[in-house]
Amino acid sequence: MNLSKKNGYGDSKVELQIAPLIDVVFLLLIYFMVTAALIKKEGDISFILPAPSDPEVQIDIPVEAVIEIGADSIVVLEGMRFSAKDRDLSDLTNHILGLKQIAVSQQSKFFVNLLPDGDALHVRVVDVMDACAAAKVDTLTFSKSL
């Protein structure tokens, strides 16, 4: 007895449709390719707050660069003004490097003291910190706002 022949089942081929699977896989691939490129990693700009120290211990007078940041985003270092449009502050970096050289020649410590106005925007503070990082400043402090 040949049932399969009789019912006509033996002739049809069982085929797996892979086209929808490939479609889905392609969509997933495109999704991950696009999102992988869009993720931005957050970085760090670190600093240490000034701690109270014993005045008798401190012998060296360090070279200090006081940078003022105004509410109008104007940055001032030793009378030099940097406009709000100047985002990369390359001249400020050069000036800090010059002061750093003076500190090296005097064998003194060097640090940057930021004096932002209370209304100064955080983005401008970060710009100045970035300029300090460009000048490889390793000691950065904040003073009470103007």
């Binding site: 892979i18 392609f26 970085g43 760090d44 240490i48 925007l121 990082a133 904040f142 009470k144």
Partner: protein
């Protein structure tokens, strides 16, 4: 005249190597990409050319500040006042002496808001600070 017999065999493209390759690419991108963290507090962190992406992100206490100066802390972005923040930082500092305070502030946040945080942290003894910035 003898005619050549027409070849009746179907020409089929072998799809399996392509599928293999696509699967491998898919697995690569799934593994390489990170799960996007959706911030509860929408802020625009400023970009900095010299920001360094850290290798070790442990021992950090994250404080998020929005444009209005509202403070959010912890993984669940719980809103706190400056006094509550001070208490929490003091507690965290007891548990971990090398605690680093990470301030994630919006670019348009006024400095006085960040100053309040820094002062509060300094008062309880947390001196090591980080400002979050995107790599430019």
């Amino acid at each position: 005249m003898k005619l050549r017999r027409v070849d009746t065999e179907e020409v089929e493209i072998d799809m399996s190597p392509m599928i293999d390759m696509v699967f491998l690419l898919l697995i690569f991108f799934i593994v390489a990409s990170q799960i996007v963290k959706v911030d509860k507090v929408p802020i625009e962190i400023p970009a900095a050319m010299y920001a360094v992406v850290p290798e070790d992100e442990t021992g950090r206490y994250i404080i998020t500040v929005n444009q209005k100066g509202e403070l959010y802390v912890g993984a669940v972005s719980e809103q706190v006042t400056i006094d509550e923040l001070k208490e929490q930082v003091a507690m965290e500092l007891e548990a971990n002496e090398k605690l680093r305070i990470m301030i994630r502030a919006d670019g348009q946040t006024k400095y006085e808001e960040n100053e309040k945080i820094m002062t509060a942290c300094a008062e309880v003894g947390a001196m090591d600070m980080i400002f979050a910035a995107f790599e430019e």
